[in-house]
Symmetry: C3
Subunit: 427 residues, 3 copies
């Protein structure tokens, strides 16, 4: 794992700022989140009205919540939304009532196997109200009447998402997507949001080859909305990465695109293996995060997903234990570093054509062959040139060269640069 | 192995009824066999005249035999066809002579390595006469003269084979073939005949997708005759299975078609693996049973072969030890069960097209998403729907879905049914 | 390894005759070498003038050397070209001077890690002069002045290479190439030259299917010159083998062509595996011997390379320790035997078409089926016929048949011959 650097601490600070907000698939929590992210990178925010048809779906009513609690007979709040956004069932309809605990119970959600933790639950598309609380809290409640109140609104409004674009040399795009719909859950997905924001910043410092588009949108309905509104742009999307669960202590996991042999798949496999980090590479499955949508068979984009411990793979998943202590600056910095390495390879993975393909060109008279020999670096540079010449037949890219030669990608890319300058190959 | 069921006992009873008959590639033994099988499933019997050109071959003369023996000087039959149809060389020409044992010996066939067993030998295409006997019997014969008599006829007649068709929803066919030319040998191939008959019965109880054609024919020349007379039908044959050696105590063996990646190959590999039975999957070889003919390069049909211990793989092979005791109700029931499982998969292995392929369709509003969650079956059903939607791109069938998802084929097929009903996919 | 035969001793004698000559990429040493090889097989010698453009290169000036030495103050030669052609830097420019050892040192090349050995060094394309000597010799030199003299000429002349052709039944060619530019180095590449010469002799004793062209040329520039002058012929080159390091005690190593699945690659892999010799099969790399040129992407010929211990893989490589003692008759005979086996397979690896592809043809009535059965050879011959018939679909050659059947290639080829004679298949 990469050493803790300042950027890790900065990302963790962003996670902590975003943590208290009550996000959902619509509403002011998302807007507040995007305002804060916008302090780091400029964002173009989109508001899509309730009722807008998006692919097979419809943009739902906007949900906002001001207050929610369960109070006992003395008026004391025994469960209070103000303490944690997890306490209210996501998309809870308003309620204001007094009822005995026996009746209230069927609106209460706990995690008996982790009695101190509060679960995260939602009911987006079926009108419900409810509270999430720890089993310990529930067990301590005496029978009797309780006042329950959810001061929420479900009404026509908008779905909100944002984009940030790092322009490249070509209009072909790489998308980086992360979901912004989860309330107070740090790894899922504030860490992903933070890594995405700092990745965008890093890319903007150079002029990349590809145009990189960062999408901050609610899960599922947000990705579907983006796809519905960007039908023509989708053809420009050549590669992509969904970032989620980017800060937990587990090892890195890359989930391949549905195609399995997309260039992003090959790049991520290569970079993870070459980095000698412990990691996993998983096959595509049609559940998880928004790779589900980008890889649906009609689009079938070359979009994979990078996580540390993947979707639902850790006990803290979707509970109050997924808090800022669960994600570390070091882990987020490591995730960020791998993204940068991968995009560094992806961005330079050109196919070249050997312009002198009959026999070897005479490198020596072009000053490309170190006649002193001996130095290991010079030797590697020469081998890399021979490999690039050998495989620059229009069918192999520099990643192929790196894989077949066993030489570092950087060495191969440098050799290609020298040969290009000498007029021996062209992209 | 499946528990013994009534059907196993029924199949064994059929083997015992057929065992005494003297079958060969032509003649009344085959006709008698088909008459008995016809009591279980209706058969269409074909008689093809001697001399009929069939592909590169010609239908041979019909062979029938009434009696055959070797008698000693006292007139006592020391080898008697009436005791076992194996005692006479198949297709023996008639003989009636007296000769010393020294001269007789070159017409006698024994198995010195199994001195108590009688071998099975034939000479279909070169005129010969001979007897098969145990080494022990031979060793006990004193020198001296013996009367030998084979009361057989080789004359113009017919080659006999039969078909049984289970009509399906489509005219595309699955053929199930078994050879009926061996005399008193239980595993090779009375067990195969019995499994085929009861498989046909089972299929007839439902309306399968494919049309299933059962072919009961003598080996090699029978399959060649069928192919010669069904030149147009062959194009309808999409899959097939040759059944042989279906009742011995060994584990199941599937021999792949010449193509190796035919759908029947994939189905059999999947079903055998999913069933967790010990089994073998073998590459195609151009020897064995009638898969040789169906898979000859001009036809190259997707026809594999299911056996227990395969062709020539057990010491009892082609000897008197391959008797009804060698095959068990349990083993035959197990072979039958695997055939039914395999055809159950084959029959439902449709390719569907996702009619809502851009993003995931909203399963919830169609009642397809169990909003309660939690139950393991419901969870599996949902995953199966997502997998079917993801892979229904016109290039993957339900077997692909089952293999890639790791979900049971039945679960996948049920999910496809639900999605089809909801109008989200079509075959 | 094959037993020592007369041919091994003959090849070793040739190595010893060639060893003292001072070869380089041009000059009289190459001519003398080709004259001696020409005593074994007739050679067509080509002389290409200095300055001739050849692909991306130009034929260099011709280098010849008469004498070279370092003499001490007493006039005693402490390093003498007459003792070993390795003592002078290849392509040394003339020099005649007296200088102190301190100044001379930067023109001296030693191998400190092997103090008794003399290294082999060249400077073809940068004008230099120098001497190679053992570290021990250098260490024994007292400081003081030394006379240095290289009596060489670098002048317009020619590059010399030779060809020997064994005509075949077809004009499609197999090339066998070996480099002739190294001075007194036995394994690299006098052993390769010797194996090539005796391989040519052996091939000439039969009429092979392919035309076999043997190329004796200096490394790199020689292969490039040949390719430049044979632009149309290259299209006839279907297969090829570069022979180098053919006599050391190590096990055989086959380096695959750039294509990796060329027929020569398959043949060599098959023959080496079938022979049960310990051996290695390596991937193509764009460095090594003249496979670099033949496999450059513009040509991309099916040319592999056969060595024992490969390029730079043994400590004696490019030193005075690579002398005739380092190569053995036994090892060279073994390399030769593998070449003959491989070309024996390559030469017979036809694709046949089954002319009776519908069902099995009746082998018996054509006398192809040994009706006696039983004998293991006859059984193998029958299996081989069935395999050839099964795979003779226009897509498989006899090597495919041998690999899939597990039968020896010779058995398969004999079966194909019998079927061809019977009119059942055609090439």
């Amino acid at each position: 794992m990469a050493p803790v650097t300042g950027v890790g601490e900065e990302m963790h600070a962003l996670v902590e700022r975003l943590y208290p907000l009550c996000r959902s698939i619509t509403g002011d929590g998302v807007r507040a989140t995007l305002r804060i992210v916008g302090e780091y990178i400029p964002l173009q925010v989109h508001e899509v009205p309730t009722g807008t048809p998006v692919l097979d779906w419809t943009v739902p009513e906007e949900w906002n919540i001001r207050d929610a609690y369960i109070a006992d007979a003395t008026g004391k709040r025994v469960v209070d939304f103000a303490a944690s956004s997890l306490h209210v069932l996501g998309y809870s309809v308003p309620v204001s009532a007094t009822m005995p605990l026996s009746e209230l119970r069927r609106h209460l959600h706990t995690l008996p196997e982790h009695p101190a933790w509060v679960p995260y639950r939602t009911s987006y598309y079926r009108p419900e109200w409810g509270f999430c609380l720890s089993q310990e809290t529930l067990d301590a409640l005496p029978e009797g009447d309780y006042e329950v109140r959810v001061d929420s609104t479900l009404a026509d409004g908008h779905l909100t998402y944002a984009e940030h674009v790092v322009p490249g040399q070509v209009s072909d795009e790489v998308i980086v997507s992360c979901h912004v719909c989860h309330p107070s859950l740090a790894n899922d997905n504030l860490a992903g949001i933070a890594v995405a924001a700092f990745l965008a910043r890093a890319l903007a410092e150079e002029t990349p080859y590809y145009t990189y588009r960062f999408i901050f949108a609610p899960g599922t309905i947000g990705a579907i909305t983006w796809l519905a509104r960007n039908a023509e742009r989708v053809e420009k999307v050549k590669h992509g990465l969904v970032l989620a669960c980017a800060g937990d202590p587990g090892r890195l996991t890359y989930k391949q695109s549905r195609r399995g042999d997309a260039e992003i798949d090959r790049v991520m496999r290569y970079v993870l293996a070459a980095s000698e980090r412990p990691h996993s590479v998983n096959e595509f499955t049609p559940y998880g995060y928004d790779e589900r949508q980008f890889c649906s068979p009609g689009f079938d984009l070359g979009v994979g997903s990078l996580s540390r411990t993947p979707y639902a793979g850790y006990p803290e998943y979707h509970t109050s234990a997924d808090n800022p202590d669960f994600v570390s600056p070091r882990a987020m910095a490591d995730t960020l570093a791998v993204c940068r390495e991968a995009f560094g390879v992806l961005d330079r993975n050109r196919r070249y054509l050997n312009l002198s393909p009959y026999g070897e060109p005479q490198l020596g008279r072009r000053g490309l062959y170190d006649s002193l020999g001996g130095r290991s670096d010079a030797k590697q540079a020469q081998l890399a040139m021979l490999w690039v010449l050998s495989l620059s037949d229009g069918e192999h890219g520099l990643l192929d060269v790196a894989e077949r030669s066993g030489l570092p990608f950087d060495t191969v890319a440098a050799a290609a640069g020298a040969l290009d300058t000498a007029g021996l190959i062209k992209a």
